[in-house]
């Protein structure tokens, strides 16, 4: 497959606007500006592009809702918070291909008639901040951003907003709260951001990778685009693989590549010829899978049928030497730290789960601890204000579901 999102990144100057334009960059923007905004939205709808931030929500549908709202101004927000442990897929776009994102945002801004955009960038990516700021400046100089883009009377302004180290700000309503200068706690939905978002205006939040698909989608058209990867969930996809594989890294592959292919064909298999023990396929919040479940196509439609989720496409591979109780404990320590404290089941539950797992891991587990974990998790799942709490509960539930004997072993 031709690389779209990671195109040209071996070039050490790939982040420079001239290098981007040499490989065809900023050719889709003029093409898009010659289309009607509604036609671009229709293309996105027809393409089947699903949001790459974790939930897989159809981009065209979100855009239709936002554009149906009669209020102006509208805002386009790029979610570059990338905080899900295991995830480092947006980073190469931000650091090495920032113009692809900027072009994607300019196209989206025009389609959605949003005149202002922000990139909400996690605070832990200083290199990305510098790359983006430089790239935005270059894009203004060349007339791809500003009050009169390419002389076509279209206005779109773009700025970077730096987060400050809070995972929950990746959740779109918390992100909005944080962009407005508040504590990053999620808001109740409805109203949805497409109607009442940042500064009370209709707001479209999309992930970096989602927006970076736009130039290519416009270039080849929805029909050709929808033929890449899975029929129900098309397009190129970034999979970021970490843990015990021979060649960890970010891979751009057709959506729907199987987990087995990713691990064994592309990443060279398990390090040192060891045995595979478990895989977390889509970032720490997604259900862990045992080795006999890795023939599933990695896309938003098929993963749920195989007991997990695509999430952010962050594949974490564990070989036979890894203690999964410890992994589970470390995951819950993360959730406890990142719980925003707004709702009780999550704020209290994550702490309880962490502390029970802690004693089990130290060999001080008590009889009945596993049931207590399941009881606490069961009292969280579906009862928290936002999906962070669900994620924390389901991590525990799934580790126990697939690897209960290992927990029992620790307690004996």
């Amino acid at each position: 497959m031709e690389r779209v999102l990671l195109k040209n990144i071996e070039n050490p100057n790939s982040a420079d606007i001239d290098e981007y334009m040499k490989v065809g960059g900023y050719r889709s923007l003029p093409k898009a500006l010659d289309m009607q905004p509604r036609d671009i939205i229709d293309e996105v709808k027809k393409s089947g592009l699903k949001g790459r931030g974790g939930a897989g929500f159809p981009a065209g549908m979100k855009w239709t809702f936002a554009s149906a709202d009669p209020k102006f101004p509208k805002y386009l927000l790029c979610n570059a918070d990338e905080g899900e442990p295991g995830t480092f897929k947006d980073r190469p776009i931000l650091e090495k291909n920032p113009h692809l994102l900027i072009e994607g945002m300019a196209i989206s801004g025009y389609a959605l008639q949003a005149e202002y955009g922000y990139i909400y960038l996690r605070g832990e990516y200083p290199d990305a901040k510098h790359a983006l700021k430089k790239a935005i400046k270059q894009a203004y100089e060349k007339g791809f951003l500003g009050d009169n883009i390419l002389g076509k009377g279209v206005k779109f302004h773009l700025a970077v907003h730096q987060g400050a180290g809070a995972y929950i700000c990746g959740e779109e309503t918390a992100l909005i709260e944080s962009l407005e200068g508040g504590r990053g706690q999620p808001r109740i939905k409805p109203p949805f951001p497409v109607n009442v978002g940042v500064f009370s205006a209709p707001t479209i939040v999309n992930n970096v990778e989602t927006l970076a698909n736009l130039p290519y989608l416009i270039e080849i058209g929805a029909d050709a685009y929808s033929k890449i990867g899975s029929p129900d969930c098309p397009g190129p996809k970034l999979y970021c693989v970490s843990g015990h594989v021979e060649k960890p890294g970010v891979y751009e592959l057709p959506m729907g590549t199987t987990l087995r292919d990713i691990i064994y064909t592309h990443c060279g298999g398990i390090r040192g010829g060891k045995k595979l023990k478990a895989v977390i396929p889509g970032g720490i919040s997604t259900p862990v899978l045992p080795p006999d479940k890795i023939d599933c196509p990695m896309d938003f439609v098929n993963m749920p049928k195989h007991g997990s989720m695509l999430g952010s496409g962050a594949v974490m591979v564990f070989d036979e030497t890894v203690c999964l109780v410890k992994v589970c404990y470390r995951a819950l320590k993360f959730f406890e730290h990142e719980s925003c404290g707004k709702c009780t089941p999550c704020r209290e539950g994550t702490g309880w789960l962490r502390s029970i797992l802690d004693r089990i891991e130290r060999g001080e587990g008590r009889e009945g601890d596993i049931d207590m974990l399941l009881d606490v998790a069961g009292n969280m799942f579906g009862k928290t204000f936002c999906p962070l709490g669900d994620g924390a509960a389901s991590v525990v539930q799934n580790f126990i579901k697939h690897f209960r004997p290992e927990f029992e072993e620790h307690i004996k």
């Binding site: 995830t87 980073r91 290199d127 809070a166 508040g182 960890p248 720490i284 470390r330």
Partner: protein, 155 residues
């Protein structure tokens, strides 16, 4: 122009990026942290006045986010990830190493004020774990020996 005037000018510039002043709070807290070294009470007061936001609100926001500092830090900030992908490649051993070799506790500062250590929750370098940031610089595929070499560069 003195430092404060310069800072106020920078704040004016930041405010232009947003339709509402309050949205400038996060970036302005970063500026205040840079100028005052950490978010000491005077820094929070300064931000509150500069943006005309109640002090309690400023403090509430500043304490929500992990990257704002509420005590004096060493000259160089080591931010080491110990989340799962880093953990399975020995990040905890590195925490012990920093403690034994440099007397650096988690959340603490060396006696000579050279380094502070903060444990991070995933810094997006999972494919090259374990990883850390020293100030704004990324370092990956860490080992004890490599850390020693790196830290030599920060005096």
């Amino acid at each position: 122009m003195n430092r404060t005037d310069e800072l106020i000018k920078e704040i004016q510039e930041v405010k232009k990026s947003y339709p509402k002043t309050k949205a400038a709070l996060l970036p302005v807290l970063y500026l205040a942290q840079r100028e005052f070294g950490w978010l000491r009470p005077e820094a929070l007061e300064f931000v509150s006045e500069a943006l005309d936001i109640p002090k309690a609100t400023v403090k509430g926001v500043a304490t929500f986010y992990a990257m704002y500092k509420h005590k004096l830090m060493g000259r160089h900030l080591i931010q080491l990830c110990t989340n799962v992908s880093c953990m399975i490649f020995g990040a905890e051993r590195l925490v012990d190493f920093l403690k034994n070799k440099y007397g650096l506790e988690v959340g603490g500062t060396t006696a000579d004020g050279r380094f502070s250590l903060v444990i991070m929750e995933c810094i997006g370098a999972c494919g090259t774990a374990p990883a850390m940031l020293v100030n704004d610089d990324f370092y990956e595929n860490l080992t004890e020996k490599y850390i020693e070499e790196i830290l030599e560069k920060y005096k």
